[in-house]
Symmetry: none
Subunit: 205 residues, 4 copies
DNA sequence: TATGAATGAGCCTTCATTCAT
DNA sequence: CATGAATGAAGGCTCATTCAT
């Protein structure tokens, strides 16, 4: 839901949406680098090439950007996750697909993810972030359910399932801190490695 | 190293140090909750019971607090880590001790750690944070060397040792986001679980 | 006097004038409600159904609207007042006619009048409002002259003529703050009551 | 109720209150001249001799000033009015005292009153002005009750009592627009004239 | 005529910090 | 040591206005 009454005519609307996306992407990059509070709107306008007030055609305010970043991060991920678990596959396979998609997404949106990590406390604390919070929770529940089904059918064993889940969350969420685009390991290899650790197997070797 | 000319007489000095510690601890808690930029000095003075300028007897400035928080986090951890690897123990045992101490420290200093996580990008980016950065690197090198020695003597096997290291960092660094003091799992159990995953064993069973 | 080059062909010109009048009327209403400074041009465009720039086909700028509102208020009133005092009638009758026309006008243009009242200080202070100011003064002089003629020919008596004039101005100018269209008293009754108070008579009884 | 935690120690508190009063008085003067919206906080800081942010030791925000101005205007007036009508005097005498006190107050606080007049629409419209609004209403009710008692005991006669009340409000409220300190008429003379008009007598002559 | 993107000055406010007391 | 008044730069945002389409 973009914001200050976007144009209705399709041609203009397309340009508007494109520009808004650019703005959000730029914001994600700057916020990731300097922090949300550490980035001033004037740095952002400069980075987007717009003038002081021009940004406000595309956003309602600074916080709107943070919401947009979280949405771009969580919504497609959640959708993909639902697709994966809706398909009738064995839990182990679902987990591999899930972690694969997740790592790929997080690597592709590493700026979004870095912003999310930095602002996480605020998101958890404040009421107006309820929606974002519940998306995160929904994703984690999906993940947990896959582990639970695997544990139930004996295809996975955990000393403590919850700890394994949390460890997995830690690994993946930390990934953006160190991956470099075109780095030594592909997202697929990273994901496979993570799965192996969580499942207690030797990984892709 | 406290800052604006602390008293020299021992009795006064003790009280001064105690107060400064309180201030830093309060800052860690507030920063963890609301973010470093999101916490105003006046919120901090209010929380400490001091008046507007009173804080500045104990600190040089706001950033000084961030430095103190990072130091309280990293210095004792690094020292403990050095003790552990200096003792002539098998790598696997060193790893267990290391992760045990690390998780315990991170749980105990969860506010510090949350602050560190939030401000990480800034710490990595800016020159004046060189010292903190190199402490983090030193700790990670110690960890990596333990893994390397384990791999070398055959007591550990990794599909990709660097990935295992990064996964471990991810797990532990993420811990403060979910541990609650007096939670179901003790730091020791958490640490054991992490080690098991990284080493591909079944954990503390 | 409309402004940004209105059309010359009569048909177009008529539509143009009609639109401009609508715009000014809408502005009067909004300004009366929210104040001149408190009303943004975008609220005005929204209220008129035009888009951001569309307004500027009909007006030169925001202040132009204030001028137009004052003109619509003062010009016809002044003209009517001149008609009344130009007719050779006894002062008491002139006063009744004058106050009657005045109250009716002020009630009909209550939004204009509320705007005028709110912005009065600015109008009195700033040079560029000279013309509006002198219209107000002209009207008050006409009023005063009627009172003076009445005092001179003995048909009116005042403890202090100037104070009576100012009281009358106060009453009438305050009327828009409380009249409601279709209220209990008609403008004529209100005017009669005011005259009675100023002349020390018992009113329309 | 002053605002950002005024000092508690009596000596400081006194200076604080004095300064705050100065600030409010200065604001009243500027707002009266240029309008509330038309006066920038930086004009106000300049007029008070404080620096940009210094004002905010004494006020919560710009609107706080408007509230303070209205309170300084209405509270003492209302209190005085209550004193007067609580004394067991004939209605005519009460009215004279009431209007006398009222005109004097309004003349003394002419800046406050000019501000109140300009912002009246906003005050009537917006919920957060409820308290101010009800003070105004309380004063008007007191006034009306005096007129009603006078009408009841036959000491006053009105063609339409409500219209007389509204006329009186108009006269007095308009007074600040033209009185000059040390002008030809004293507040007492003005008040006497107003009473005479409302009561249909010849005034102080 | 009309649109809506864009401008840029200016607004109110916050905040880390200083300093006389 | 501690206070709290004061500073002044910077922050996010609004708004009257312009102009290519």
């Amino acid at each position: 839901m973009p914001v200050p009454s976007p144009p209705t005519r399709p041609a203009l609307r397309a340009r508007y949406d494109a520009r808004r996306s650019e703005v959000v992407a730029t914001a994600a990059e700057l916020f990731a680098e300097r922090g949300y509070d550490g980035t001033s709107m004037s740095e952002l306008t400069e980075a987007t090439g717009l003038a002081a007030g021009g940004l406000y055609h595309y956003i309602e305010g600074k916080e709107d950007l943070l919401i947009a970043i979280c949405d771009e991060l969580l919504e497609p991920l959640l959708e993909r996750a639902r697709q994966i678990v809706d398909a009738a596959l064995p839990p182990v396979e679902q987990l591999h697909k899930l972690v694969g998609a997740w790592v790929a997404h997080v690597v592709e949106h590493r700026h979004h993810m870095l912003v999310f990590t930095q602002e996480r406390q605020a998101i958890e604390r404040e009421r107006r972030w309820r929606r974002v919070r519940s998306q995160r929770q929904a994703f984690e529940r999906i993940l947990d359910e896959v582990l639970a089904r695997g544990e139930a059918d004996g295809s996975m064993t955990f000393a403590d399932r919850r700890l394994s889940l949390l460890a997995l969350l830690g690994m993946v969420n930390y990934t953006p801190q160190w991956v470099r685009p075109g780095g030594r390991l592909s997202p697929g290899e990273i994901a496979a490695g993570y799965c192996a650790m969580v499942l207690g197997k030797d990984g892709p070797g």
